[in-house]
């Protein structure tokens, strides 16, 4: 734990972050590509079709990791926002802003794949089920955050306002997680928990590989976007200096 805290403190210097991420980025991106390729082949070709859902179960290998990442990325944004508000750390603000569009994209993927799966399985693209509705709210929270951050002439003010909004929106995360247990509507409850899984290993393993691939993809995209934003700031600062 102390080690992790020290690593984060060490990396919290923007210049140092740029150096370390330049080395890490190709490896993380390459690993993400490999893991995703393996995961996609495994889940779309090797894994057996479901005895009830048939081939359309394969949508789940995209849908479930996207849903996990949608919540996880929001949590990352909220933690980064907290750090930014408490310690006024510029890199945390950049991390939160860089993560937001990626998280919004994961949420959209989750909603779209879910609705494509729902059409043959539930007979409808969309139902006003508690889980679906709360994920839709999450999508709107992402959009609101992105809109708020870019709505000010002073970027620092937009960043702080966004941080407060991100923390307010955290209340939605437990609602998403427990919506299937509290309201018991159409969306099925979680099949995987820390204590075990009700999924057959032949489907569980490709799913987990896909989840790891999605996480690596997020890490790579986050680094790319953070580096771009830091470079953008540097260019702006140099322009102001140069007159």
């Amino acid at each position: 734990m102390v080690q992790v805290a020290m690593t984060i403190t060490y990396l919290a210097n923007p210049a140092r972050f740029m150096r370390v991420s330049a080395v890490l980025l190709p490896w993380v991106a390459g690993l993400a590509a490999v893991v995703l390729a393996v995961g996609l082949y495994w889940s779309l070709v090797i894994a057996p079709p479901d005895y009830q859902q048939g081939e359309s179960v394969r949508i789940m290998f995209i849908h479930v990791p996207a849903a996990w990442l949608a919540s996880l990325v929001y949590l990352v944004i909220a933690v980064a926002s907290f750090v930014a508000l408490v310690w006024r750390h510029p890199l945390a603000e950049i991390a939160a802003q860089a993560a937001a569009p990626v998280g919004a994209a994961f949420t959209l993927v989750c909603l779209v794949t879910g609705s494509l799966w729902g059409r043959p399985m539930w007979g409808t693209y969309w139902v006003w089920d508690a889980r679906l509705t709360s994920v839709l709210v999450l999508f709107f929270l992402y959009l609101g955050y992105i809109a708020l951050v870019s709505a000010f002439d002073d970027p620092a003010r937009g960043a702080r306002a966004g941080s407060i909004l991100a923390l307010v929106g955290v209340v939605n995360l437990p609602i998403i997680k427990f919506s299937v247990d509290w309201w018991n509507t159409l969306h099925q409850p979680a099949s995987i928990s820390l204590t075990g899984s009700t999924i057959d290993p032949s489907m569980l393993w490709p799913l987990l590989v896909m989840a790891v691939g999605f996480m690596l993809l997020f890490a790579a995209l986050l680094m790319v976007r953070m580096r771009a934003m830091l470079n953008e700031r540097r260019v702006r600062a140099l322009r102001l200096q140069g007159g």
Partner: protein
């Protein structure tokens, strides 16, 4: 405490003397409800089924449209800086402004809601649940709205932006408020919905002033 009531009295005076303020929110609310029969058709059966939803959605929209009143004028004329400098904690000042705002919108909407319930053909037995629900839920609308209003101070197009931020957070009161009337129609199961609605408002009462005050401090920096 004296400062708290002074602020409430001042905001109420301003809302009262500037005339239109209260009427505007109520007028918006009435018009929004009246639009629905034109949109979905005038069949009494259909209207009765969706009456609670119509009134709650209209209340949400009226609340959102009145949010700019909360801080924007004081921010523009510098009054907000003086409030922030006063010995009153900013969180308490936010609470005072929310109370005044709720008295002039949430409470006003609640008072006219039975008349609107008649227009959309709600059964008179369901009206107490509707009014009680609005009474319990509208404070949450003002309090959460205060966060949105404070966050968007000084932004480009603050009105649309605060609506975008706040409306997703208004979903729980909408679900439980309209759900209470619906459950009551089925035969007296409104209690659980109303309790959840009250719990949501109490939670907002504790947390929203903190978030709104933090946002105001940033806006005033």
């Amino acid at each position: 405490m004296a400062g708290f009531f002074a602020l409430v009295r001042r905001d109420l005076c301003l809302a009262w003397r500037q005339g239109g303020e209260i009427g505007l929110a109520v007028g918006f609310f009435v018009l929004a409800v009246v639009l629905f029969p034109f949109g979905v058709g005038p069949e009494p059966e259909l209207l009765r089924r969706v009456s609670a939803g119509i009134i709650w959605v209209a209340a949400l929209l009226a609340a959102v449209s009145s949010l700019d009143r909360l801080f924007a004028a004081d921010h523009a004329d510098g009054g907000l800086d003086l409030i922030a400098l006063s010995p009153l904690p900013l969180e308490v000042a936010v609470l005072a402004k929310c109370l005044a705002h709720w008295l002039t919108t949430g409470l006003a909407l609640t008072i006219v809601s039975p008349a609107l319930a008649v227009i959309v053909d709600m059964a008179s037995a369901d009206m107490p649940v509707l009014v009680l629900g609005l009474l319990l839920g509208t404070p949450a609308l003002t309090l959460i709205g205060a966060i949105g209003a404070a966050l968007t101070l000084g932004a480009r197009r603050p009105g649309v932006l605060s609506a975008l931020l706040v409306l997703p957070l208004y979903l729980p009161p909408l679900i439980f408020g309209a759900g209470a009337v619906e459950a009551g129609m089925g035969g007296g199961g409104a209690r659980a919905h109303l309790l959840l609605l009250g719990a949501f408002s109490l939670g907002a009462l504790v947390l929203a002033p903190i978030a709104a005050a933090a946002a105001l401090r940033d806006a005033l920096e």
